[in-house]
């Protein structure tokens, strides 16, 4: 895990503007998308996005999954930190954005975080008790439940590089099987140039791109075969220079129609 070959960068969010700003990718999505929905965040890193969905965006339940146990430990601490900072909620039932960073960081550092188990529900959806984190490799993980929304933000490249073409097919197939009917997949795939960069940077992937037959352009076809249909896409926000690399990739919103026909899973 030391060379971050799964994209498990330990300073991912602090390098991209800190964890105290609302993720611009979430702001691009429809306001009510997450409301009262069950959400799976694949490759949740330190849980920044998961915590924001569970608090401000009003998801009923969020499960953050990451392959790196250190990041999951960080995510649990981060959840304590985020929930400790939320100010007195004026409108019962919801956390508004200006309450998110209400208590100063200095007070958390001085008086310590408030453990999650001591905190009362901060919104109607029971935040911070409506969120869990788990260490697991998604492809080998067995879920006990289905989800209304699955997030795969900047993870497809790492699944693809580590598990090759079979892995990415299995990845999409598994996502489809875990989505409820009419469930939504929010996919933010990295481009092929990003694959080449990773191959150059991480020695174990030096030869990998040459052996991959599927490229990110073909993901839509694969997802269609897995029973997911592209609803719309969200283009990058070019003016968001303050977010550095955030919001520079296109996000695709797929919907699971009817009963997914997972041809590819059965064929492999």
């Amino acid at each position: 895990m030391s060379n971050f070959q799964h994209g498990n960068y330990h300073s991912y969010y602090s390098m991209r503007g800190g964890t105290s700003i609302i993720d611009p990718r979430l702001k691009c999505l429809p306001d009510s998308l997450f409301y009262e929905a069950s959400v799976l965040d694949i490759g949740c890193n330190n849980g920044t996005v998961s915590a924001q969905i569970a608090s401000i965006f009003g998801a009923s339940f969020v499960l953050g999954l990451d392959i790196d146990h250190v990041l999951i430990q960080k995510a649990r601490k981060h959840l304590e930190f985020v929930s400790s900072r939320i100010g007195p909620v004026r409108n019962p039932g919801s956390i508004v954005e200006d309450q998110f960073n209400y208590y100063p960081i200095s007070s958390i550092k001085k008086f310590s975080r408030i453990p999650v188990q001591l905190q009362p529900p901060l919104n109607k959806q029971n935040f911070p008790h409506n969120i869990e984190f788990e260490t697991a490799d998604f492809l080998r993980w067995e879920s006990k439940r289905k989800f209304k929304i699955i997030l795969a933000l900047s993870v497809s490249k790492w699944v693809h590089l580590n598990n090759h073409d079979e892995g990415i097919i299995k990845f999409f197939g598994k996502i489809s099987s875990l989505l409820e009917t009419n469930g939504v997949l929010i996919l933010e795939p990295q481009g092929w140039d990003s694959y080449l960069k990773a191959a150059k940077k991480i020695s174990v992937f030096n030869q990998t791109p040459e052996n991959l037959k599927i490229q990110p352009d073909a993901f839509e076809h694969l997802l269609n075969q897995a029973g997911l249909v592209l609803e719309y896409s969200i283009e990058p926000q070019v003016n968001n220079s303050e977010y550095k690399n955030f919001a520079k990739r296109t996000m695709y919103i797929y919907k699971k129609k009817g009963i997914g026909i997972i041809k590819l899973l059965t064929s492999t």
Binding site: S14, S84, S106, I108, K110, I114
Partner: protein, 402 residues
């Protein structure tokens, strides 16, 4: 052809003509508010260079303009320098460059050439730049009476990214265009914890701060608002802890005395196992503890942390003796304090710690200083280790038992 080595020559920019960016002259004998209210955009660098810089036209064509963050940072650094050193009338560029603390995170690295170039753009009523002597000179008769209480002039800042908090002068430079109504800066104090403070010349109130168009995620609070929120947080935390545990319902425990964290199960077991083999004490509360295990370290840097203290102790032990390993059971330290209480495994460890600090005479010069070598001219006091005994020792263990 001479090209200053620090300037980026890869991008060749066209010289667009001479611009007269006059340096504050001697006639500016009063600090005028209007000076700080003027549009910051007028200070943005253009592609031209002021006539004061000793570069020929060919060289000028090769110079890439410095970024606005650098110019704002230089402006802020000099304001703060002349406020900190109120007796100094001038400062040489070479001296400024040597002050590493000033330039943390600021790019490009300061050189005489890029500072000269930057100062040709900086117009500030407090000082002017003399190109021939390379001196920045405080303008005569500029008096800045700091008669507004500090409490009303200090701002708490949470920057984005949080790492900016430790680069206080870069942060001050970035905030400059938003805080122009309240300038000049008097000081900027950074911390490694994600927050910093800037001290301004004028009084600020929270409603004015809330209206500033700062970038998303940045938090600016007045001292009053910051203190108010901290107090609220502490009350809220206390309320939640009391509500969840009947053990903590004894409200007579005021905050400073109730500061010692409880031992974990493992720590309790370890303490018990040691106490069986060592001298123990029992009082009327049936309190069972080993004597002479606690040492207090004084004069730590106020922004240090437990892991730094641990590393510092290991280093001090290694210089003192090769026979005893440094194994503190627990480092009891709270943020912003200059004292820590160390719980040792055996009284011998505690004694070694005390002797080590007595013989080695060290000063912790910064929050992350794990060697604590004495520095020439450092005004920080020596680190002191002392044994906690008597009633204080009993109270400590009693508190832990609770």
């Amino acid at each position: 052809m001479f090209v200053p080595r620090q300037l980026n020559v890869r991008k060749i920019k066209a010289f667009t003509g001479k611009e007269n960016n006059s340096i504050a002259d001697g006639n500016n004998n009063k600090l005028k508010d209007e000076h700080y209210k003027h549009n910051e955009a007028s200070k943005e660098p253009s592609h031209s260079i002021s006539g004061g810089l000793m570069l020929n036209q060919q060289d000028r064509q090769l110079i890439e303009p410095l970024n606005p963050d650098f110019l704002s940072a230089v402006d802020s650094i000099l304001e703060i320098y002349f406020h900190r050193e109120r007796q100094k009338e001038k400062v040489h560029l070479a001296f400024l460059i040597q002050q590493d603390d000033f330039w943390k995170g600021i790019r490009p690295n300061p050189t005489q050439n890029n500072l000269k170039y930057a100062l040709s753009y900086v117009t500030n009523a407090l000082f002017h730049f003399d190109n021939s002597s390379h001196m920045v000179i405080r303008n005569e008769n500029i008096v800045l009476p700091l008669d507004i209480p500090l409490y009303d002039r200090i701002i708490y800042v949470e920057p984005v990214p949080a790492t900016l908090s430790n680069k206080s002068l870069l942060l001050a430079g970035k905030l400059r265009k938003y805080l122009k109504e309240f300038l000049p800066y008097v000081d900027a104090i950074g911390t490694p914890e994600g927050y910093a403070f800037v001290i301004l010349y004028k009084k600020v109130d929270q409603s004015a701060l809330s209206k500033l168009p700062v970038p998303p995620g940045w938090v600016l609070l007045t001292r009053k608002e910051w203190t108010n929120r901290e107090e609220k947080y502490f009350e809220n935390q206390l309320h939640l802890v009391k509500a969840s545990s009947s053990d903590v319902s004894n409200s007579s425990n005021s905050f400073p005395e109730n500061r010692y964290p409880k031992l974990t199960k493992v720590e309790k077991q370890m303490t018990k196992s040691v106490s069986k083999t060592s001298q123990t004490d029992k009082d009327e509360d049936n309190l069972d503890f080993t004597k002479n295990l606690l040492t207090r370290i004084k004069n730590l840097h106020p922004l240090t942390n437990k892991s730094t203290i641990h590393s510092l102790l290991s280093y001090v032990f290694s210089r003192q003796t090769q026979n005893i390993a440094c194994e503190p059971m627990y480092i009891d330290y709270r943020k912003d304090e200059t004292e820590a209480i160390i719980r040792w495994k055996t009284p011998l460890h505690a004694e070694t710690c005390i002797n080590a600090f007595r013989t080695q005479e060290r000063k912790q010069n910064s929050h992350d200083d794990i060697r604590a070598h004495r520095k020439k001219g450092s005004s920080r006091p020596f680190l002191i280790a002392e044994l906690i005994t008597g009633e204080e020792e009993k109270n400590y263990w009693r508190m832990l038992k609770k």
